[in-house]
Symmetry: D2
Subunit: 308 residues, 4 copies
């Protein structure tokens, strides 16, 4: 039996020297204002026991971590048909490149690059028909997997993204020109930005991701969110595509299915064991949380939980 | 002394066998409805004498020919500073490719590919401040170089373009993400589509282009529109970039600075001699008027007016 | 305790309907002559117990599977310095694309695309100095991990590859122009082709890969080939990059670190448990053995050995 | 009647302030050793009268200027069939890019980018069968158009190019992999380098290019080298593609069909009037002679010979 609380405290201690390395995302003002020197880490076991260090109750912008939830939701609704609109392969290009999208005729390579996530949001919009209702359903789903009615979004971050999201509008319009976007480009991108602006803390995130560690079923309350096969698929996409152009490196150093967000959060899945979330806003050169990546690396080193 | 009327009639006769070749542009409904089997050709000399064959009084959508006028206008306003926003080199890629634009950080290679023309319209919007006023000034300029108050635009074509212009919106948003678009993407693209929807006939077009054959000065009424140097620059860009990815071929076959539009029109300049316009809506595989290209080729063959 | 022999026999039976699907590699005559309807599968446990079905003693051209061994060898010699010459990220492009290589200044994205494997061979050539000696050391290493002195290569396949390997020569010369190839392009490519022409059967391959399932140590005879960390790295690269542009799909369907070869072989690693090899020459549209992929998918489904 | 000698002397004087700007090509040692501060300019009229300034009798490496002669020769042998192997459109990419070549399936965009010139040399090799004989025929052709038996090549430059020509070997092998190279990559590239190593002075070059100013016929001795149509084509390709990625700019500033070489030479054609050659080894950022480009710009400004 591992002493998880002690492991988390060791990690926190070992990371002190790195606390001021890396740079906070500054492409929108609302994100750049965050206190850069924060760190938090939480794990939640199948019986609900939670261990945490740092500011694990401070919420932050989950950003691209929300793509895991929208992908899950869309996969649940559309099943295999979703793959007509978005692939499942690593992209080998910066996360927001238009080049590959043009050569591949508007079909994004995976649901975790921006174009892919926009297409996933578009699929949800088509299903729920109205933008407001679509966002509500995404938020409700996140509240359900987190078992927490209290999760919301940050309207300032949302508006700030909307005002600077020209590249995402370019991606959306390009896909629309290829016939791979069913709804209006601007409202799709706005809905996409809205779910990126959802705020959660590491305790909530570690809890929320448990169903992916347990074949699609919440191990605490027994709710089934997706099939075992879909859970496996989502984990595989997280492992191969979850960290943009550093996914291979992350697979080696951490060896867990995981997804990072530019707000500084990362969620990770230890299959059959637990959910993990880390938060630290300073990013490394690939746009992933610098301390968060190191924390997960230390965690798998100490526990032997790497899948390799 | 060449007998131009006879030459035009010979050309018209020799082109009969090709009258049903090629395909009318069908990416928007409004353009696809045109009678496909039309042909017209006009030349206007420095003394104002005009020769024509075919439906030279039927107006059609000038489309990308309008880029010559907006480029002229923007060059006149911004002079060399315009080249901070748009280059002057052939693109070697389809006219609406995003790939090159991304690799070259949002600076389009020349003012005749779509991205370049959108940037030029953006520069005019910045100068005139309001979309309505910007379009009025573009239209007024075209009326001035044509010496014809009666030129207008087709609102149905305009609306139709706006409803299907996703790729152009993608280009505009991509440039905006690189900081190379000063105005709102949607209103810039709408203004761009509006000047593309201007309608003229070959007599009007041949007249309108005369100033480029005469160092920037209208040879009939003596009005100076641009400097001699600017006229030379515009002619050079027309020769090297005026026909999308068939510019080299056009340079060889015709050997004149010229600009085509997807509506089936082409204007051409015989330096120090005349303006030419042709119209025939069926396009070859590069998107240029099939009969129009052949007509100009026959014309330079018969007159020896190729610049080579 | 699972009954592996029975599982393998079930798999063989269930795959009968697919035996004639897919196409044998035909880019070189020597490979296209193989009997297309073969199937073999072997697993080897840590105690040396081996289970097999099909033609598990027929040797075939291991082709790109050899890249696992050369990468291992080079990593062992150069350690972290190897990554100055070759990356560790998925490529998101066909395995032999020059485009990405040019944009990334001659540094291949990973050691399993052709350019990356050529660079690895080049590093070995630099270390061993002579082509003959280099190949001998590669072969000896494969014999060691297989505990089998009897493994050799097929000179006809080698010569055939050398005669048709223009794209690989293009890759090698491009890297040389960027200063990322130390030896002569032609002799490097020839050595690369020679280790691709090594022939093994599934029993030998399943045995040979055991050290990667056991932290770098041969679990049968206790020989240490590489460090635990290097083994983890190789497994991570196999998982994210082992199947060209279908690596993400393979990760989902099979969920094991694995490497395929165009000769129809695939090796896979079940961490801490066993080595697996399959063989069937007909390929799917991504160039991976069609039956081999399905066989591994069935195996992880039946045993629950997927890492997800 | 213009006083050409006086014009040339004015140009030489006006260029003094620029004599130390730009950088000599240094990718091979043999080229970098040239005296950087040289300048020469020659023009030859249809009656053979020649005017020169500077070191117009010093030979230099003609490099890419040789592409004009090999293109002429190949066009003469293969006529329209040559265009199955090489296009005629501007490339919009650096002269030695592999990217476009890969996307366009091994067919270079024009005969003046390296890949295109290698394909042209390959066509000549196929025709003459042996490398020695091919080079002899190329050299003899250049001697004929120059009316000068005394022209040769620099073996040191040749060998130096061969030792560093990896990117050209990459281009050749890539084309071979697409089936667009008939002869061995290495011997084709070596022959290509050999004709690039031919040395001439500006007097010889101005003389050599006269046939292109006169519809394919040498205006001095009346020899017909190519058809009028072929001459027009070559001039069109020189105008649109003769200066790599600065062809549009050159067209504007100079307005003459011309071809530059990295050795510092440029030849230009004034249709129906004269041949021009300039030499100065320092290059601008696009790889064209800095003083040479300025000299030609001054020349057309002073004479009004721009085709626009």
């Amino acid at each position: 039996m591992q002493n998880y609380q002690q492991i988390l405290e060791e990690i926190q201690l070992e990371l002190q020297p790195y606390l001021h390395k890396g740079t906070v995302a500054n492409y929108i003002p609302a994100l750049s204002k965050v206190n850069p020197n924060q760190f938090a880490m939480s794990i939640t076991l199948f019986d609900g026991t939670t261990y945490s260090v740092g500011c694990s109750q401070s919420r932050f912008s989950i950003q691209s971590i929300s793509k895991v939830f929208t992908f899950t939701k869309a996969l649940n609704i559309y099943r295999h048909n979703l793959y007509k609109k978005v692939g499942r392969e690593p992209s080998g290009n910066p996360f927001n490149s238009l080049v590959q999208l043009e050569y591949e005729k508007g079909i994004p390579r995976n649901p975790f690059i921006n174009a892919g996530a926009i297409v996933v949001t578009d699929a949800l919009l088509t299903h729920y028909q109205k933008t407001e209702k679509t966002f509500e359903n995404i938020l409700t789903f996140i509240q359900e997997v987190s078992d927490n009615q209290n999760i919301g979004y940050d309207p300032m971050v949302w508006r700030s993204e909307c005002e600077h999201g020209f590249r995402n509008l370019a991606l959306a319009n390009l896909m629309k020109s290829f016939g791979n976007l069913e709804n209006e480009a601007s409202s799709t991108v706005e809905t996409y930005f809205k779910h990126c602006a959802i705020t959660m803390n590491t305790q909530e995130l570690a809890r929320s991701i448990l169903f992916l560690a347990n074949h699609g079923i919440d191990p605490i309350n027994g709710k089934k969110f997706i099939t075992s096969d879909q859970a496996k698929r989502i984990n595989a996409v997280m492992l191969t595509c979850g960290h943009y152009d550093a996914s291979g490196d992350f697979a080696f150093h951490v060896g867990l299915p995981a997804k990072s967000g530019v707000g500084g959060g990362i969620v990770a899945v230890v299959p059959k064991k637990m959910g993990i979330a880390v938060f630290s806003p300073r990013l490394n050169s690939w746009g992933n949380s610098l301390l968060g990546t190191k924390a997960l690396e230390l965690f798998t080193a100490k526990t032997g939980f790497s899948i390799f």
